[in-house]
């Protein structure tokens, strides 16, 4: 599209330039945030025909003829800009801001492109240049808050494992595997893993396909929406070299605070006294913890500070070269990313190995387009990604989860090192494992290093068949990809030496079960990912305009794919080497009349081998229609304010072939169980056979009926206000779920059957506005997404009480008790009175209920509502509490401004209407570390204001969120984040040395500030529910960068 415009501009502009006499000459350079922009049309205001087009270096030269002293810069996909050049003597620099809502902006959809005017489907798109400076390793992290209908949650900040989970328009499948969007990169399916590896610098645009009319072409894989990524390609012109170097620091969004030894010991005593036990620590112990006079006998270590640094580093370097001539066009890029981890460096006495968290990634891409002759185009894209992810060899999930885990270490458990420099071990009855201190294990425990290589190769040949009929072409394409990951590591053959130092006798006590010498080190290694994917596509395109008003286009596609998994295949661990196959035919037909009436028909007939051979293929049709009122004369006259006023709608059926657990639900299997069951007098273990879970021979894919209605508006001068608002309603049916209404007397596990049904509806869209005040250009874009789902049927057994029903609730709705505060002494006295009068049982006590599992109760324990009034707190009293963990509302507000060389871009992102509960080591005393919130616990002196229930040593008491999930523990959360900030300065061309085309320095930040609404938990608001304190906390990143174009 841009090429065509370029051509037109050349014709329009250059010829008159010869004819007219010269006046004042203005020269300059046009750029966007990424560098020089070739092909921008530069025209003089009020003098039609006078102007120029920028060259490959973004340079232009215009001779002014009129009196306005103003130039107008226009380029498709960018905000049109007007600049007064009256006072400009020298070469001027112009920065243009991109505009996703511009009329002619190219929108990439499956196997083709469309524009804002002609599109009938629901697509959100973003020019990747906008997110190229976001300092995150994963492209999906950068999309949050920028694309309507895009929902994401980043559960971890660990280098190399920090990719967000994302969903398009929320979730609709009861089958957890059935909500993952399809990822398409340059028309080839990628896995989640592969997407994470892509370097944003290689990406040209990202689109999210949200409705049936855009996803039906993917048929059986389209129901969860599609993320379409296209990579950058070479453009006509001389070689342009871009270099981007950036580096900065990462720091956790929240730094957890733990109580010191004195406070922890005091609270342990308090819990033991509460339980009627003898306090663990004497007053002398407490004093020594407090005054620190006995650092070895009474240690006080803040393990978080001892183990973790304040900052870690991140570097990112990119180099790309692009250009082309009439025969070859090329885009070649290389990138290197390095993220280091937060753990301090602890030297191993036996040598020096890096056990810290670390992620390094190297990306290379070469996209070549070759025009073999007038009608044959060849294309070869080769890309590879090498990465290494390093992490310490710990048994726990992460170093942070070790610090959270009370059973492994406590502030008073051991000194950091013994006085003689030897390692200490956890010496406390709470740490029965006697683990050496975490610094000792980090220093000597070895590492796990995952080396990963991804290849993608695509070869493509397109033959124009104008000889047969104009506008017809045929393309054959082979795409191959492989991913291989080899994890190697080191570890110890046995425990490392560690000692308990007794300051009284100045003696060292060896760790029970420990050794005096360091054990030998072993190396380990295995291939844990080996996936290959072969995709063959053959398609024919037809695109022709008749009588300049009837535009017809069409596509017929044959698509076949075969995927081989490794031994650790996510679908089915037993399916080593059985390739997953996919096959299908898709057709698409579009008709457009004069840019006003739009009709779009799509259908796919495809299937996968997950289903029995007679149930493999399904038909997935969709229709989209659009009516562009602003193309009508009467409308233009009546409402000239609208540059675009378009209504559109679509309806269709798409599918999802994800199946829970077993990939072959249709095949009945018998399983050999080598379990140790001894037979005979001298026991011999024999194999046993069991029938596997029942098969479902009729299993088919899930289906979704999708309805989408939308309004596209561009209005005011220069279309400076634009809006897209979409409303959708999806019904997901035939969902694969394991039925809950089959009696257990069947005696066997059940297969998933196609019975589930849910509804997902909502709206999303964006409103953009851009304007300028003097030479300050500014713009804003507000993105909103809302998706609310509801289970319509899930074959639930008739619940005993209405509030227990899952049906009618959202997917993944948490259930739990309703907290009524704390039991008082009076409550317990009333219970005792009632029990005395009723034979020792509380059954039927309608005023005060007690847990039914024989747990002793005390004042200060959490009291829950007895919904069924039977006098007992049990599972019948659990009702829906809060919201599902995935936010149902996402908002993003992007603000941009630029003045001369300066530019600022800020994204505020917020998620609303979601809930989470932290359990286990994240919050529970004696399981997790003592935290400031525990100081607020209930005591007889602190009843009403208590912020935490009575402390108890009983880990399964009513005060445990693991055993008694309740709304006391649940946070109905929301957060607003200053997600990204980008401040840059473009050096004026005249200041640039060495014939540099352009140079820009910038500061960029990610997760800079977060406002949330809870203080119970010391976790990032994007935490998954029920996660103990074991996530590597999300990182705030701040970088400085320099970008240069040659």
């Amino acid at each position: 599209m841009r090429k065509i415009i370029l051509l037109i501009c050349i014709i329009i502009n250059i010829i008159p330039g010869y004819l007219l006499a010269q006046n004042r000459v203005v020269t300059g350079t046009v750029r966007d945030l990424q560098g020089p922009l070739p092909g921008v049309s530069v025209g003089e205001k009020n003098v039609p025909g006078n102007g120029a087009v920028t060259d490959a270096g973004g340079k232009f030269k215009v001779t002014l003829k009129g009196k306005s002293n103003a130039l107008i810069f226009r380029f498709v996909g960018y905000v049109t800009r007007e600049l007064n050049v009256a006072g400009e003597e020298k070469s001027i620099d112009v920065t243009m801001a991109s505009d996703n809502q511009a009329l002619g902006e190219v929108v990439v959809v499956g196997y083709g492109k469309t524009t804002r005017i002609t599109n009938t489907g629901s697509v959100s798109t973003i020019n990747a240049a906008e997110i190229r400076n976001v300092p995150t390793a994963n492209v999906q992290n950068a999309l949050t808050g920028r694309l309507p209908g895009f929902f994401s949650q980043q559960g971890s900040g660990q280098p190399g494992k920090d990719a967000s989970d994302f969903y398009i328009r929320g979730v609709s499948s009861l089958n957890p595997a059935g909500n993952k969007p399809l990822i398409i990169v340059d028309d080839v399916e990628y896995t989640y893993d592969q997407l994470q590896q892509i370097n944003v610098n290689e990406i040209a645009s990202i689109s999210v396909l949200k409705d049936a009319s855009t996803t039906a072409i993917y048929g059986i894989k389209g129901a969860n929406g599609v993320l379409v990524v296209t990579t950058r390609r070479g453009k006509l012109g001389k070689p342009q070299i871009n270099v981007r170097v950036e580096g900065g620091v990462q720091t956790p969004t929240k730094i957890p605070k733990f109580l010191d030894a004195y406070q922890s010991a005091t609270l342990i005593n308090q819990a033991e006294i509460n339980d009627g036990q003898t306090p663990e620590f004497t007053q002398d112990d407490l004093n020594l913890f407090k005054n620190g006079q006995d650092p070895y006998g009474h240690p006080n270590v803040n393990w978080y500070d001892a183990i973790f640094k304040q900052y870690s580093y991140q570097q990112n370097t990119n180099l790309d070269i692009s250009g082309g001539n009439n025969v070859v066009k090329y885009f070649i890029s290389g990138g290197a990313l390095n993220q280091s981890g937060l753990v301090r460096s602890f030297p191993d006495p036996r040598g020096n190995v890096n056990t810290n968290y670390n992620f390094k990634r190297y990306n290379f891409r070469s996209n070549l387009d070759l025009k073999a002759n007038k009608t044959l185009d060849l294309r070869l894209d080769v890309t590879t990604r090498f990465s290494t992810t390093n992490s310490p060899n710990l048994t726990a999930a992460s170093a942070l989860s070790e610090v959270f885990d009370f059973s492994r270490l406590t502030p008073f458990t051991a000194p950091f090192l013994n006085p003689d420099g030897s390692y200490a071990y956890a010496y406390s009855r709470f740490n029965s494992g006697h683990l050496p201190t975490l610094n000792a294990r980090l220093a000597t425990g070895g590492y796990q290093n995952a080396k990963r290589t991804d290849y993608n190769i695509m070869f493509n040949a397109t033959q124009q068949l104008n000889a047969i009929t104009d506008g017809l072409s045929v393309t054959a394409r082979v795409a191959y990809s492989s991913q291989e990951q080899y994890t190697r590591g080191t570890g110890n053959y046995g425990p490392i030496p560690s000692y308990h130092y007794d300051p009284a006798s100045k003696s060292y006590l060896l760790n029970p079960g420990g050794t005096y010498v360091f054990p030998n080190i072993y190396y380990s290694g295995n291939t844990n990912i080996y996936t290959t994917n072969v995709n063959v596509q053959l398609f024919s395109n037809y695109d022709r305009t008749f009588n300049s008003k009837h535009h017809v286009s069409g596509l017929v596609l044959l698509n076949q794919q075969s995927q081989t998994f490794d031994a650790y295949d996510q679908l089915d661990p037993a399916s080593v080497g059985v390739p997953a196959k996919f096959q299908g035919v898709s057709v698409s037909g579009n008709y457009e009349y004069d840019g006003k009436y739009l009709l779009d028909l799509k259908a796919a007939y495809n299937g996968t081998d997950r289903f029995a051979s007679n149930h493999r293929f399904g038909l997935f049709p969709a229709i989209g229609i659009g009516y562009n009122l602003s193309g009508e004369k009467f409308f233009k006259e009546a409402f000239p304010v609208f540059g675009l006023f378009k209504i559109r709608g679509s309806y269709g059926i798409v599918g999802s072939d994800a199946a829970p657990n077993n990939r072959y639900i249709y095949a009945q299997n018998y399983i050999q169980n080598p379990n140790n069951y001894p037979f005979g007098e001298s026991p011999i273990n024999y194999n046993m056979f069991y029938e596997g879970n029942l098969a479902n021979g009729n299993v088919v894919w899930e289906k979704q009926k999708e309805t989408n209605l939308a309004l596209d508006l561009n209005m005011l001068k220069d279309n400076r206000l634009s809006a897209t608002i979409e409303v959708f309603r999806n019904i997901r049916y035939d969902q694969l779920i394991v039925p809950n209404n089959v009696p257990d007397i069947i005696g066997i596990g059940l297969p998933a059957i196609n019975v589930g049904r849910t509804r997902n509806q909502g709206f999303d869209g964006q409103i953009g506005y851009h304007s300028s005040i003097g030479n300050v250009q500014w713009g804003t874009n507000f993105v909103f997404s809302y998706a609310k789902n509801k289970i319509l049927y899930e074959s639930e057994a008739a619940p005993a009480y209405a509030w227990l029903a899952r049906t009618g609730q959202p997917l993944n709705q948490p259930f739990g008790y309703h907290s009524l505060g704390y039991y008082t002494e009076q409550d317990l006295a009333n219970v005792a009175t009632y029990q005395n009068a009723n034979g020792g049982s509380n059954a039927g006590n309608k005023t005060i209920a007690i847990p039914d599992n024989g747990l002793p109760l005390h004042a200060g324990d959490l009291k829950y509502q007895d919904l069924n009034g039977d006098g007992f707190i049990n599972i019948f009293d659990q009702r829906p509490i809060g919201h599902p963990n995935l936010p149902n509302t996402n908002l993003g507000l992007n603000l941009q401004a630029s003045y001369k060389g300066f530019s600022v871009s800020v994204l505020l992102q917020g998620s609303f209407n979601y809930s989470f509960i932290i359990t286990g080591t994240g919050i529970e005393p004696f399981i997790g570390q003592f935290q400031p919130i525990h100081l607020e616990s209930w005591t007889p002196e602190n009843t009403a204001a208590a912020g935490y229930p009575r402390l108890t040593t009983n880990k399964s008491s009513v005060n445990s969120p693991t055993y008694y999930p309740s709304d006391y523990w649940l946070v109905n959360a929301h957060y607003v984040r200053l997600k990204t900030v980008d401040i840059g300065y473009q050096f004026p061309t005249r200041m640039l040395p060495f014939k540099l085309n352009s140079a820009r320095i910038y500061m960029s930040a990610y997760n800079l500030f977060t406002w949330d609404n809870y203080r119970k938990y010391q976790q990032d608001p994007e935490i998954s529910t029920n996660t103990a304190g074991d996530a590597y906390i999300n990182q705030r990143v701040l970088i400085m960068g320099l970008q240069i174009s040659l």
């Binding site: 036990q277 399916s575 001894p678 056979f689 005696g747």
Partner: protein
């Protein structure tokens, strides 16, 4: 233009080559094992079929520390769990804190926690309904496997195996019926998804009739005792006949034989009383005795240690381990022991003196000041020492010291006895060893002493007054136990007892002979005495040491609760919710 065509053709050719290079789908995942592989019509050794049969045997439970780490009898009046805190399955059962939806998994044999084998799960199915299903699959499938060999009476090996599966199926039904009352009888049908599983419960009478008729039908096509060492786990003719006896004894018992807890409800028992049921039970026991295949093992402790002794009728084999000692042994010994089981004073008091007289008899020689006869010459029943660790009992070259603050009851945060006693039964004879060594942890499901006592119990209910054959069984059991015959050879039993007196003696004999063997828990139910005994508090002993003297003070350790609804387990809540025809037991 000409060249363009060539290119066009080249592109089409390329496309055609790559397209045709792609194979068709694999029509079936060939790595999956099918039923034909398990029941192989060509395998004369029946290797895989036998593996399937092993799988059914494995569903039978090993009762050692089975229920949440405790013996099931810790939910009866014989013992309590040493564990403290909440969610202890046996304590929940003993205190009526279980309901239709929270019945502890280990004792919830209806649902279990694992119905099947999924690829990610290599456990043994826990539900007895899975056992019944697997047995039915085997019964229906084994016919095609041409297994060589057979019994002397002409039964082929395949038929023997099928009978073993039928035995196991009958056993699973028996275990369900004594817990739940009547349950759905599925016959040989293996249900598939989509078939109507809204089955109603069969009546109690039909279930008993089914179990007994199955036992009758298979008894002659099973191997007979004595069996080869390698076959010690297999169902025998004697096991089938004993299972029949157990079913008939259950059916004749007061809980089910008329006056059942919901009198007109044929799911919870017979709706009438019939004395003939005792006759049938006695006859079934007599039939086993008349096999002359079994005898009482001379040593009481060795029944549980010596494999293939002639007293064992059916077992669930266990490995050679020290788990029983480490799990239940007294604390305070360096060899270890976490003392899970705390026997009650009620059980301790049930053991008579070695002269056979109960401790309440003034002539027994029992001294309150020396209740365990540590010092006294008149000893307790030797089964007492073989069943209970008391203060002063010998163990591991030392003495169990459960006085307050003693090594066996330090009153620290360590798990320890709550009653002043530990369980001794099933352990190896390590009184004079320094430490434990591995021994068999087989779980005995049926043994010959049970047949004798069942015969005595049933005969006592048949005759107006106990006849000599009732006394003879008790003499035999007591003689083996080591009780002195005494003058007149009466083993401490008074001659000429009434039926009621004799019933009390027999019930006590069940209690002390079969302590911790999952008898007492069911016996107090089938005799319908749980409402009495379980509504009294469980007591233990507080032993206070002063100098070298001990004083003994009874203490309450747990207030147990028993409601009439507890005589039968609740049908799991989910099962009633899923199946509208599944009638819940009364009171749940």
């Amino acid at each position: 233009m000409q060249r363009n065509y060539i290119h066009t053709i080249a592109v089409f050719l390329l496309a055609a080559v790559i397209w045709s290079g792609c194979k068709k789908y694999e029509q079936f995942p060939v790595d999956k094992v099918t039923g034909n592989y398990v029941f192989d019509p060509l395998d004369s050794a029946g290797v895989n079929a036998q593996s399937f049969l092993y799988g059914i045997y494995a569903i039978v439970k090993n009762g050692h520390n089975r229920v949440g780490g405790d013996y099931l009898d810790a939910a009866s009046d014989d013992a309590v769990s040493s564990k403290t805190g909440g969610n202890i399955p046996v304590t929940l059962i003993a205190t009526n804190a279980v309901t239709a939806f929270n019945f502890p998994g280990a004792e919830n044999l209806w649902e279990g926690t694992n119905l099947s084998q999924s690829p990610n799960n290599t456990g043994i199915p826990e539900s007895f309904w899975a056992g019944i299903r697997n047995a039915n699959i085997f019964i229906n499938g084994i016919g095609v496997v041409p297994v060589k060999g057979g019994l002397a009476n002409g039964t082929t090996t395949a038929q023997v195996w099928r009978s073993e599966a039928r035995f196991l199926r009958a056993y699973f039904y028996f275990e369900l019926v004594r817990r739940y009352g009547g349950v759905p009888l599925l016959g040989n049908k293996v249900y598939n998804i989509g078939e109507d599983l809204s089955l109603p419960r069969s009546s109690f009478a039909d279930c008993i009739a089914y179990i007994t008729s199955e036992c009758d039908a298979i008894k002659d096509s099973l191997i007979t005792a004595p069996v080869a060492d390698a076959d010690n786990y297999r169902a025998t003719k004697g096991a089938a006949m004993t299972l029949k006896m157990k079913a008939l004894l259950l059916a004749a018992s007061p809980l089910f034989n008329g006056n059942n807890i919901d009198n007109a409800n044929n799911l919870t028992g017979y709706t009438n009383y019939d004395a003939n049921r005792w006759v049938q039970a006695a006859q079934a026991a007599k039939d086993v005795i008349d096999l002359h295949s079994y005898a009482l093992n001379p040593s009481f402790t060795d029944i549980f240690l010596n494999q293939n002794n002639s007293e064992r009728i059916f077992i669930r084999p266990g490995n050679n381990t020290t788990n029983i000692e480490t799990g239940n042994g007294p604390v305070g010994f360096s060899a270890g022991g976490t003392g899970n089981t705390s026997p009650t004073q009620e059980l301790v008091d049930a053991f008579p003196m070695q002269n056979g007289l109960p401790i309440t008899d003034p002539a027994s020689g029992y001294l309150v000041s020396d209740p365990y006869s540590v010092l006294s010459d008149v000893k307790r029943d030797p089964r007492f020492t073989a069943t209970i660790f008391y203060n002063g009992a010998k163990w591991l070259n030392g003495t169990v010291q459960t006085y307050e603050g003693g090594p066996g009851k330090p009153n620290s945060s360590l798990q320890q006895t709550v009653s002043g006693y530990y369980m001794r039964k099933f352990m190896g004879n390590f009184e004079t060893s320094a430490t434990f060594s591995n021994h068999s942890s087989d779980w005995i499901i049926m043994r010959y002493a049970e047949v004798l006592l069942a015969y005595a119990e049933a005969r006592n209910e048949v005759e107006p007054a106990p006849q000599a054959d009732v006394y003879e069984q008790l003499y035999a059991i007591r003689a083996r136990a080591g009780i002195e015959a005494g003058a007149g050879g009466s083993y401490g039993l008074a001659p000429g007892m009434t039926r009621e007196q004799m019933r009390a003696v027999i019930q006590n004999e069940w209690r002390i002979e079969f302590a911790f063997e999952e008898h007492r828990y069911f016996d107090i139910r089938r005799w319908k005495i749980a409402g009495t005994v379980m509504n009294q508090p469980r007591t233990g002993i507080s032993v206070v040491k002063s100098g070298n003297a001990f004083t003994y003070n009874p203490v309450t350790v747990l207030t147990t609760v028993f409601k009439e609804s507890q005589y039968l387990y609740p049908i799991p809540y989910n099962e009633v919710a899923k199946n509208p025809n599944m009638k819940q037991n009364p009171g749940h």
